[in-house]
Each structure stands twice: as C-alpha cells, then as structure tokens.
Amino acid sequence: MNNIKKHFPLLNKYKNLIYLDNAATTQKPDVMLSALNEYYTSFNSNIGRSVYNLANLSEKCFVDSKKIIANFIGCKKNNIIYTNGCTDSLNIAAYLAKQKIQKKYIILPISEHHANVLIWQRIAQENNFKLYWISEPELILNPNNIELDVLENTAIMALAHVSNVTGEIYPVEKWCKTAKEIGAISIVDGAQAVTSLRINLFQIDCDFYAFSAHKLYGPMGLGVLFVNDKFLDTIPLKLGGGIVEDVKQEYYILLEDITRFEAGTPNIANAYAFSKTIEFLNNNNWEQLLDNIHKLSTKLSEELINIGITPLSISNSFKKTHINSFVLPKIHSHDVGTFLDKKNIAIRVGKHCAHPLHSHLKINSSIRASLGIYNDENDITMFIKAIKECIHYFN
C-alpha cells in the first residue's frame, strides 16, 4: 500500500478494491471526514449575522477556507464563491455571462461535458444565438485561427481545461487570450483539471473557472466558481438573504462585492472540510502526487497500446492527464464494466455525459479508467490483466 492510501478509510475497508473511477468522484481522506465532525461538534453556527463567539469561530472557518482554496488555484479569495458543485458553478457562470452578451456566437470544443453544453444550448435557444462547435484539433490548439467573421461575432468561448473522456489538456490560456482579444467572455470547466494539474488562474486569465470539491478528495455538494471582477456588477442567479445593502418594499440594493452571489446560508461545514483536504494535499507534496498520477496514466496508456487498444483522443497534439478511455472491439462497454466489477475493479462505462464527443468519434460508448493519488503500479497491472481476461471471455 502506498503512503497516501492509508489516509483513505474506504480504501482500507475494501482492501481488494481497485478504484479507477476518480474522474467521477474521488475517495475521501480521514482529515476531511474528521473536519466535518469537528465543524459540527465545535464550530456549528451561522455566519454573517451573529456576534457571539461560536459564530466568530464559524466565520473564521469559512473565511479561512476561501483563503486556502484561492491560494491553491492562484487567485484572490474575493473572486471565488461556493456553489453546490461544478454544474451549479457553470449554471451560475452562464447566468452572469449572458447579462453581458451582445454578439451571437458561443464557441465550444466538441469534447465538452454536458454541464458545459446544455447551459449554452438554452441560452442560444432563448436569445437566437448560435453554438459554434470546434472539432478540428488545429483550431482547438489555435483558436485565433477560427474564421474571422465568427470570431468577430463571438460572445462566449467555453471549454473544459481537461476533457473528462480523453484526459486531454486543452490550451485554456490561448482560448482566454483569444476571448480577451475579440471581446468575448471566457468560461473554463476545471472539473477534471483541478484534480490533475497545478492550477494558476492568474496565468489562465479567464472570466469564469468552475470546479467541484468532490472530484478533489473533498466533500460532495460543494463547488467553487471563480468570477472575474468585471462581473461583480451582474445580477445573481440566486436571490435571498445575506447579499444586500438594503431592501425596500419595492426594490433591493445588492452588495458590491462577490458576497452578492452567495445568497442564503453557505455550506460552511463542507467549505471547512474542503479546506482541510487542500491542506492535506499540500502537506503531502501535491506536485509529487500529480507527477505520480501522470506517470501511472502514461504507463496505463502504453500498456493498453501494447495489447492493441488505442486510448481515445481528438488529437495526438494534446498532452494527457489522469484519464484513459477506450473501446474494446465487439465487446460492449457495459459488459466490460460488469466483468471488471467482478474482479474488484471500479471503472466507468457509457458516454460519460459527453454525447457530442462520442458521436464525433463515431462510437456508441466507451470504458474510462481514471487515476487518483492513491493508485499504484499494482492497480495498473491488475487492470490490464483483467482487460485481457475480459477480451478472452467475451470472444
């Protein structure tokens, strides 16, 4: 067992489990679980409205958590809000962004997760805008080469930092730079990137960056959204308590800072527990952990290629992270999923909420193995062995 694995109670409980579904959700470290308990037994009280000491402690948990998380992704704490998850973050981003849309195109790569597709389809339908899908690798690599009359009329450029199917890293900095040059809004779905790359939002320079805590070893039901200063004057999607300067019978005046986007009681306990997760990752040398994931993922990919299976990708030009998806000829992915389950290997099968990409690649569904910080070489060996057995079994 590698050093980090001992901190994950579920993996200690199921010692034979080989968990390779980390792109769906990750297992939880003991520090995160005990932080939840600690919050509810030592700090539990509401924030922002009370003056007693317990509320001070809770407030500190909340404010400090933002500092830790903002520091982890390279931005200021006054630019992030907590949400219910990455999907929630993207819905909020879309709602804020559409208030500043004046042009008609929304540019998206073909690889997007539905969380970064449906929101734009709805906005396009409601406002008679057009989705402009990019499937050519050259244009994903160099978005400034997209035809000029489209770029000149583009309101939104939205993309995932890392594909949840191919694991490819897309050039978000270039996309955000192009967006800036043409006066468009840049929105990045960071769900798979925060867990596989060192994120620096200062460098990426986007308008919105969204991710969830549960894919980064944190609690479920908590998301983060980075909001660029220039959107602090927009109307929040959610209205309610804690976001106003004043309310009259006929109207309200919103707070001028980012607090306006966090109506109601935030998920303070989860925010605190998530900040403890981030500290845990930092204390265990996050760079080293990432490096290990990348090495294992490369090994997994090479071993698949050795047995004649090519992991899915849009192009060889993109580097990859912790995700490898593939198809086995003549064996349906669901049958593979069940077969591997009986070998105690948890992987994901289906379309992974990326129907446009599967249609583009002309495949019905795929098998996805995604790595986390607790996986090791033995997991890869067992996985490849099981895939070989599976091919033999069904053929």
């Binding site: 349906h332 669901h334 049958d335 069940t338 009986k342 099968v349 569904s365 057995e389 079994y393 069904f394």
Partner: protein, 153 residues
C-alpha cells in the same frame, strides 16, 4: 485460478450465443416502429413490428440497434417468443418476464427459457439492459391503437 462463476451465471452460454448471433435482427419495411432507449448508456433498440390487419397478432418482428450482450440477447429471445403470438399473449409474456426480473415472481413453465436471465437479479445495475427491448414492446402494445405504419410512430 480465476473464479468466473458469478459471471458465468450472468453470461450463460445461450446469452453469449444470442448476443453474437441475434435472431430476428434487422428491419421490416413498412412496419410499425418503436424505439427503446437507455439514456444512461445511450443504447437504443429499434423494434419493427408487422401485425395483421386487425392489429391483434404480431405476424413478424425484427430489431436492430446497438447494445451490450445482455440487451441484444434479451431482444433476440423476446422476438422469438412473441413472433406469431396475439397481442394479448405477448402482453402476458412481457408481464411475466418483467415480474420475474423485477419482482422475483415465478416464471410460468411455458416461458422457462427466459430463466437464463435469472443471474441478472444479482446485478441490479444491469436490469435495465435486459429489459430494454421488453419495455419498448410494452410501450408499443399500450399505444397500438394509435400507432401508424411505415415508421411514422
């Protein structure tokens, strides 16, 4: 030694055989057409059904589409069982099979061949694969009076 006993219980040899060589696989011109969809995995099965003029008997039935071994084998066996049957009889077969899988009810002796799907009860996440084509035929039967031929459904 690899223990595949539970897998073998699920993937019985008849199931594997039907999944590789499905019966009644294809398309019928100018027939009723209905689709079964499994949104979680994106699988689809198309059923093509030819009835007599009174819409009371299934004279011919074919299916196509993409699916896992369980859904293909299940559709294959279903078409074999309902072909030539009256709609009333086909409803009885469908109800018996669904109750067998979902409610663990005893399967009537005359449908005993369907016992090969007993293993799926240990794999609750795969029940929808086995029932994909059956649910589609169930929907077709309930809408038969208003269905139109030539794939206009």
């Amino acid at each position: 030694m690899i223990d595949n006993s539970e897998l073998n219980e699920l993937y019985q040899s008849i199931i594997i055989e039907h999944s590789k060589r499905p019966r009644n696989f294809g398309h019928i011109e100018c027939s009723y057409h209905t689709i079964g969809k499994n949104p979680s995995c994106g699988d689809e099965v198309n059923l093509y059904i030819k009835t007599d003029d009174n819409k009371s008997r299934i004279e011919d039935i074919k299916f196509n589409g993409e699916g896992c071994a369980l859904s293909i084998a299940s559709a294959s066996l279903m078409t074999q069982l309902v072909k030539g049957k009256t709609l009333i009889d086909s409803k009885d077969i469908i109800n018996s099979f669904i109750n067998f899988i979902v409610n663990n009810e005893t399967l009537d002796e005359k449908y005993k061949l369907l016992h090969i799907f007993d293993g799926v009860k240990n794999f609750p996440l795969r029940v929808k694969c086995v029932l994909l084509s059956w649910r589609a035929l169930e929907k077709f039967n309930s809408q038969i009076k208003c269905n139109q031929k030539c794939n206009q459904v």
